[in-house]
């Protein structure tokens, strides 16, 4: 069942004529015939949750926007920088109009005055494609001035980031768009509130995949959307599967599909040879490849019960050969590199975690070092301005708790034997300047 990756079934779907021949922009027409509040109610009723990581109900977020403000914005999060995530790229490359249409329906629902699409800089070619699509949509009266003769105008713009994971965090993204350093802001005020959004105006920030669901919901109704997935996790999800996988790639499946079905039936993994799984890229807690885990439905609620998160559903599979100390170090290097430097626990914590992990991997660690990094990570969690601080603590805390032997093997004194060989830590670490 494909609501989003329709480009796989329909060639040239990125062309407006093809998109329209397949029902494109009918949902926008339908929305414009409704009151904005009715559109919000429909999206609320659908149970659509944010696909960017946090799973917040989209319609509820839209309803926070104050009605009487003259200027309001929609900011589309196309930063897609979480390790292991490559779904928004396929959606935008193959089905760009559906995302633009979704963003415009959201814009109508909150009566926005402009839409900004924030793309990671490496997606500049997708930016060019979107510019072409926007021009086509404007010429056809679906975007820009006086949309479909309604008297409502809403231009759609693209903006390129330039290589900073933190700009996927919504408040940092808005700062980056404004032309100040792309660092998270203190909240409240939240982006949806006056004072907290883009240029201090109320702003809805939604992920690409979230918004791409919206035309389908308007065309087919909230009930049809709810019929897919589970009670608390409606609709389909694009799962990005990577790592030790025979058939890596994007798989769009109903939420609630068991992990085993995704990894074994679709992606071709051998269930006996899965040591660990990162369900949400580098940022969510790691889980072991046990039967209990494999039989878990891929829904927000079931993944939470398991002690991890569905998040962006970028599922990284690691086979039995992988040393989890090396994984912890790899993921820590990511967060050390990407910490924006604004808060001390995150900036200093990631730096020390990285250093100690390098030492452990080099065979120079002591048993106390494992306890040390566990403590550093636990002290970071919950003390920082944005969730990156928590993300950075996860790989340490959860690899140690799930795979203690992998750490002990590096730090236990073994006088006669050689230390286990570790993958060489990478050279050359660049640190982002703190502001």
């Amino acid at each position: 069942m494909r609501l989003l990756l329709r480009g796989r079934d329909i060639p040239d779907l990125h062309q407006l004529s093809v998109y329209q021949a397949n029902g494109g922009y009918e949902a926008l027409k339908r929305a414009l015939a409704m009151q904005p509040a009715e559109v919000i109610d429909e999206v609320k009723a659908s149970g659509l949750r944010g696909r960017g990581g946090a799973g917040f109900p989209a319609g509820v977020k839209w309803s926070f926007i104050p009605q009487n403000e003259p200027i309001k914005y929609v900011a589309v999060n196309a930063d897609e920088s979480e390790t292991g995530t490559f779904k928004d790229r396929e959606i935008m490359e193959d089905n760009p109009h559906q995302m633009i249409e979704g963003a415009l329906i959201c814009a109508w629902a909150i009566q926005a005055t402009a839409v900004y699409i924030y793309l990671r800089g490496e997606f500049w070619d997708i930016g060019d494609l979107l510019e072409d699509c926007i021009a086509e949509a404007e010429a056809a009266g679906f975007a820009g001035k006086n949309i479909l003769g309604s008297g409502w105008s809403c231009p759609v713009y693209t903006h390129l980031g330039a290589g900073a994971y933190i700009c996927g965090e919504e408040s940092a993204m808005l700062s980056s768009l404004e032309g100040v350093l792309g660092q998270p802001r203190v909240r409240p005020p939240f982006p949806a509130q006056k004072g907290g959004g883009l240029y201090k105006e109320a702003t809805v920030v939604n992920n690409v995949e979230t918004l791409t669901n919206v035309p389908w919901i308007l065309s087919n109704g909230a009930a049809a959307f709810r019929a897919i997935g589970t009670e608390q996790s409606a609709g389909t999800k694009v799962f990005c599967v990577s790592g030790h996988v025979p058939r890596p790639g994007n798989y769009e499946l109903p939420l609630g599909t068991p992990l085993r079905e995704l990894l074994v039936d679709h992606a071709g993994c051998d269930p006996e040879n899965i040591k660990a799984i990162l369900p949400s890229g580098g940022s969510g807690p790691i889980v072991p490849g046990t039967d209990e885990v494999l039989d878990t439905p891929l829904s927000y609620e079931a993944m939470q019960d398991l002690g991890t998160i569905l998040g962006s559903a970028s599922i990284i599979v690691m086979d039995n050969t992988v040393d989890m100390t090396w994984v912890a170090s790899k993921v820590t290097k990511f967060f050390t590199h990407e910490s924006c430097g604004k808060c001390t626990p995150c900036r200093e914590g990631t730096y020390w975690l990285d250093k100690v992990l390098d030492r452990i991997l080099a065979g120079e660690g002591k048993p106390e070092d494992v306890q040390l990094i566990d403590n550093v990570a636990k002290n970071m969690a919950g003390t920082t301005l944005c969730a990156l601080g928590d993300f950075a603590a996860n790989p340490i805390i959860h690899t140690i708790s799930n795979f203690p032997d992998d750490f002990n093997a590096h730090v236990q004194p073994k006088p006669e034997e050689e230390k286990p060989a570790a993958s060489a830590p990478r050279r050359g670490r660049r640190r982002r300047a703190s502001a």
Partner: protein, 168 residues
């Protein structure tokens, strides 16, 4: 090539028109400066600052915050090799080491012929096509060292031919 060159006029104007605040055009203009000078040079920073009505030190700190702006000159081809976890699980670290050895460079270095600058980067949203890299921000996916060597030698031959054509 200065940002005031007529060839950039329309592009700069279209970026400025997108935002209610000139300052917001700083990122797109830094890209244009990088294109014009080959890197984000002090002159480029100065010109962006003037157009966006910002302090040059602020523009410089923004250029330094993001990895895609280069504050130093580099080779003709910038190779950004992803060695993040999913790619590393599929041989990207070995691939990157072999590439460095083949070009005779360290992390961040430029090959002796001045053509190739290599750096490792974090996930580029192409994890199902590892090992992969971006060359001058264009995707090159599902690579191995044989393909890479052939590609490098093609670039070298291309340049040699062009050089001879010009009688250089």
């Amino acid at each position: 090539m200065s940002l005031h060159d007529p060839r950039y006029k329309a592009r700069i104007a279209s970026h400025l028109a997108k935002y209610p605040d000139k300052r917001s055009a700083v990122m797109p203009l830094l890209y244009i400066a990088q294109e014009a000078y080959g890197w984000v040079s002090p002159k480029g920073v100065q010109e962006v600052a003037e157009i966006c009505e910002m302090d040059p030190t602020q523009v410089k700190s923004i250029a330094g915050f993001y990895t895609m702006y280069s504050e130093r000159t580099k080779g003709r081809y910038w190779l950004h090799v992803c060695t993040d976890l999913p790619c590393a699980l599929n041989g990207a670290e070995t691939f990157y080491r072999e590439l460095q050895d083949y070009l005779g460079v360290e992390e961040g270095g430029t090959s002796e012929d001045g053509l190739f600058t290599v750096e490792h980067v974090m996930c580029l949203a192409a994890c199902d096509k590892a090992p992969m890299l971006q060359c001058n921000f264009r995707y090159m996916e599902s690579l191995d060292m044989e393909k890479m060597k052939a590609w490098i030698e093609e670039r070298r031959a291309e340049l040699e031919a062009a050089g001879q054509g010009q009688g250089a």
